[in-house]
């Protein structure tokens, strides 16, 4: 039983770590601000969720698990809000998503274009 639990928690943690890693790569490699936020929000949401669940399996039914669950709950509330606030602020300050860039004459430079 404990072996199964160990394996399962290990698997969850590894997969969670992979999500964190992909989030990191996404934040570096994505073309514009909004897609980058999309990438890094993986680091915020799915990654920690899997890791925390893995840790909870490891800790078993104890106070530690309750604390981890509380952390999980707060993460699930706060990190999407943070991503939302970030994108919203960017949109309000006039940063245009790259996909909607229509009739700009300047060549795509890989940099975000600011609206005038």
């Amino acid at each position: 039983m404990s072996l199964v639990l160990d394996l399962l928690s290990g698997l969850l943690i590894v997969v969670g770590a992979l999500f964190v890693l992909s989030g990191g790569i996404g934040a570096l490699r994505m073309p514009d601000f909004y897609t980058r936020v999309h990438g890094s929000s993986l680091t915020d949401s799915l990654g920690p969720v899997l890791i925390l669940v893995g840790l909870m399996l490891e800790a078993g039914a104890s106070l530690v698990s309750v604390k981890l669950a509380a952390i999980l709950l707060f993460l699930m509330i706060t990190s999407p809000t943070a991503s939302y606030a970030l994108c919203h602020a960017a949109l309000q300050s006039g940063l245009k998503p790259r996909a909607t860039k229509l009739n700009t004459s300047s060549p795509a430079s890989g940099e975000e274009q600011k609206l005038q």
Binding site: F74, I77, T78, T81, Y84, A85, H88
Partner: protein, 325 residues
């Protein structure tokens, strides 16, 4: 060993972040990086067994300092002027200092060395005698609140002085610490559903946690300062979501001023109470019939004083910055 390796990894990250802060020309990203720097520093403190310090660094460096820097950036130009290259003299000064310190490090006790002189003498006396003299589990709080209460008194007044300074420089004076309110930003994010709802969920928890840290500081990491910083974090969140005006209606400027002055004054009064009851300045043994009860009472009172001052001052500073346009 593992701890040491994690430590080395975190320290390297810290150094990299520090370089990035110095190199960044956009002040906004430098501020974000310095927030990251503080959180990394807090992690380092945590693996070095300094839970109280880690909590404080996270709340202060990651929270309050970042908010203050952002508030100041709103009022100042956002980018650094183009650099003029390395300054020769400063590089020399700085390099010499570093070399001196690395040179000194070879005579120093290695990390965690149990025979280091710092751990004997005074420190071991604290660990040994705190259970019988003060009887609270958290030795850090015992040292902070009783053995070195005078330093903590100084700390409370340093905070008060900073508050006085910011209100003096940026405020309007005469019980109105803040110059004027901008109508445009006074509404906050109240039109935005998601932050509003989330803040409504979070704020009670943050306040609860602040109270827990305030009054549980004798048993677990925390104390007046951390509690105050957290309380301020909750109020700042409230201000962001509901707007400046509503926040100032909840805690009025006059109340903030009273809190700032009152908390520090309360601390001093506890000190004088020691004299009045026949002890020394800041002696708690004489506050109650039983010395241990007296110690507990004294520590709770001064921690409360610190918490109130910190809340008052940090909120005043925050409002003083954002109320200026």
């Amino acid at each position: 060993m593992t701890t040491m390796l994690i430590g080395i990894f975190l320290l390297s990250l810290l150094v990299v972040t520090a370089f990035a802060i110095v190199r960044a020309t956009e002040l906004f990203s430098a501020v974000m990086l310095s927030g990251i720097f503080s959180l990394l520093m807090a992690l380092n403190f945590f693996i070095l067994d300094a839970a109280d310090v880690a909590l404080t660094e996270a709340a202060v460096g990651g929270g309050v300092a970042t908010v203050l820097l952002l508030a100041a950036l709103k009022l100042t130009p956002p980018a650094e002027a183009p650099s003029r290259g390395l300054s020769g003299l400063s590089v020399v000064v700085v390099a010499v200092t570093t070399l001196l310190m690395i040179y000194a490090s070879f005579g120093q006790p290695s990390l965690g060395d149990p025979d280091a002189p710092a751990h004997g003498h005074v420190a071991s006396w604290y660990i040994e005698h705190t259970p019988e003299l003060i009887d609270i589990p958290n030795t850090v709080t015992a040292v902070l609140g009783s053995y070195r209460a005078y330093d903590t008194l100084g700390e409370a007044f340093v905070v008060l002085t900073a508050g006085i300074g910011v209100m003096f420089l940026l405020g309007g004076g005469r019980g109105k610490p803040f110059s004027r309110l901008q109508t445009g930003t006074a509404e906050g994010l109240s039109q935005h559903l998601i932050p509003k709802v989330v803040a409504r969920i979070l704020i009670p928890f943050i306040l609860l946690f602040a109270l827990f840290i305030q009054f549980h500081g004798e048993y677990s990491p925390g104390g007046g300062f951390q509690a105050g910083a957290l309380f301020v974090a909750a109020m700042i969140l409230f201000t962001l979501v509901r707007g400046e005006r509503r926040a100032l209606a909840v805690i009025t400027p006059r109340a903030l001023l009273l809190m700032s002055a009152g908390g520090a004054f309360l601390y001093g009064l506890v000190g004088l109470a020691g004299i009045a009851t026949g002890g020394q300045f800041l002696e708690y043994n004489t506050l109650a019939s039983d010395p241990i009860a007296g110690q507990h009472l004294g520590i709770i009172l001064i921690e409360f004083g610190v918490g109130v001052t910190v809340t008052g001052v940090l909120l005043s500073i925050f409002h003083a910055f954002i109320a200026r346009d």
